[in-house]
């Protein structure tokens, strides 16, 4: 058992190989907040592959010409599940014309539903949305004099996450606020695909610093040509 390297090799050649078995109507989770920490290589591969009628779970929907906005333009998305979808004219057009379904969820509820999905918790109570249209049709329960909504887990056929560094067994480290939704999504995919800026051999990452343990990651590859576009470049003089 304890030979020199017992770690499982999850490495695939690139995004195409990572999503070779993805089909139309799949439910996807895509990491990122705004354009920070999005799986750029996976999104490009989805465009090339042309799979359609996707349900995309992602905090935001990109901008017109980057991120998930690219998949909206090619009409590959049937439904978006997000917390905030501003800054996207094509999105607005498809929403108003009824081509695109949208489910808006409070950001903390979205994060927790994904976390619950990965952690095997089918439902939980949260105060967010009590008394609002988010509460419609949901069970409300009182604890210590305060009202809470019952919310259910979210899981996906494929979770696509972006990390800074990863090793060949799928251990991941994120950088800065590009971490955001990626760690929870990594736990909630039947197949989790990780793209990383730097792929290293096992043993090179300090186990003390791992954010996502490799058990959650099924396929990993080193991405290329990261644009890392900035939405609001704010500078101090």
């Amino acid at each position: 058992m304890f030979k020199e390297n017992t770690m499982i090799n999850k490495v695939v050649f690139g995004a195409e190989e990572a999503m070779h078995d993805i089909t139309d109507t799949a439910t996807l989770m895509l990491g990122g907040f705004g354009l920070s920490g999005i799986p750029e290589n996976c999104i490009q591969a989805l465009l090339r592959k042309g799979v359609k009628e996707l349900t995309c779970i992602s905090n935001n929907a990109g901008v017109d010409d980057f991120g998930i906005g690219l998949l909206l333009k090619t009409r590959q998305v049937k439904k978006m599940i997000s917390s905030y979808v501003g800054e996207n004219a094509e999105f607005e057009r498809q929403l108003l014309s009824g081509e695109l379904e949208v489910e808006l969820i409070p950001q903390g509820t979205l994060a927790e539903r994904i976390r619950a999905g990965g952690a095997g918790i089918p439902a939980f109570y949260t105060p967010a949305g009590v008394g609002t249209e988010v509460a419609e049709g949901k069970e409300v329960r009182e604890y210590d004099g305060k009202l809470y909504l019952l919310e259910q887990w979210l899981r996906a056929d494929f979770a696509m996450v972006k990390a800074w560094k990863g090793d060949t067994s799928g251990n991941l480290i994120y950088r800065g606020t590009a971490r955001n939704f990626n760690p929870m999504m990594a736990t909630a995919g039947k197949i989790t695909i990780a793209e990383v800026e730097e792929l290293v051999p096992v043993g090179e990452l300090d186990p003390n610093h791992i954010h996502t343990p490799g058990i959650y990651v099924h396929r990993i590859f080193q991405g290329s040509n990261y644009e890392k576009r900035i939405e609001q470049r704010t500078i101090s003089k």
Partner: protein, 218 residues
């Protein structure tokens, strides 16, 4: 009457030493510029940072470091980074001391509406519903009236609400007001050059005026 900077400056007066604070997008973001440097406070960004610093210099811009408004930022020494579920755990769990956010309408019961205008583009609630459902202390920065002159401090919100009975204090361009637990806006201060009569006329909800109302000083 206060401009946006004036509202931000007045809200900064509410900040106390040792607070962890979440600032919303817009006027609330400006508040950071006016918090006295004698206070030690930590700013939380819902996308996963405690310890927001100033905007970066051109040479420091990092696409992996943004705030909730997707603006490039820096980190203060002693910052901590975390994922979105952890971020909202600290918000929902009541660990954030003060939340400052904008509003389109507030009711005399403390309900807030700030996420949706039916018939117009619906952008989503982002983290606002989680914040208002959980924060111990919520201060709202807003315009007292719409551009057409109708009050935004109402008996009941006309827009879809973001949260119920949550707003504790309002700083508008005209006044500082408390929202009382039993309902009603209690007038605390007038903006420079604004009379009690003007505030009365601009407030549709129940306005409570006790004694002399001072002009705000800051």
């Amino acid at each position: 009457m206060l401009d946006k900077i004036g509202i931000a400056k007045r809200i900064a007066e509410e900040v106390r030493d040792g607070m962890y604070i979440n600032l919303g997008i817009g006027i609330p973001t400006l508040v950071a510029n006016y918090i006295p440097s004698t206070l030690n406070v930590v700013l939380q960004s819902e996308n996963g940072l405690l310890g927001i610093g100033p905007f970066p210099k051109e040479s420091e811009v990092d696409p992996d470091l943004i705030n909730a408004g997707k603006q490039t930022i820096t980190m203060m020494p002693g910052s901590a980074l975390f994922h979105s579920a952890e971020s909202f755990a600290m918000i929902r769990g009541g660990h954030v001391d003060l939340t400052i956010l904008g509003a389109m309408e507030v009711s005399e019961e403390g309900d807030i509406a700030n996420w949706k205008v039916p018939g117009k583009m619906v952008k989503g609630m982002g983290g606002a519903m989680d914040l208002v459902a959980s924060a111990k202390n919520i201060i709202v920065a807003m315009q007292h009236c719409s551009k057409e002159g109708s009050s935004k401090l109402l008996k009941k919100c006309s827009l879809p609400i973001t949260g119920i009975r949550c707003v504790k204090k309002i700083v508008s361009d005209l006044a500082v007001l408390d929202v009382l637990p039993q309902g009603g806006f209690r007038l605390l201060e007038r903006a420079p050059g604004v009379s009690v009569e003007e505030i009365k006329n601009a407030t549709e909800g129940k306005l409570i005026i006790e004694g002399e109302i001072p002009e705000m000083i800051f």
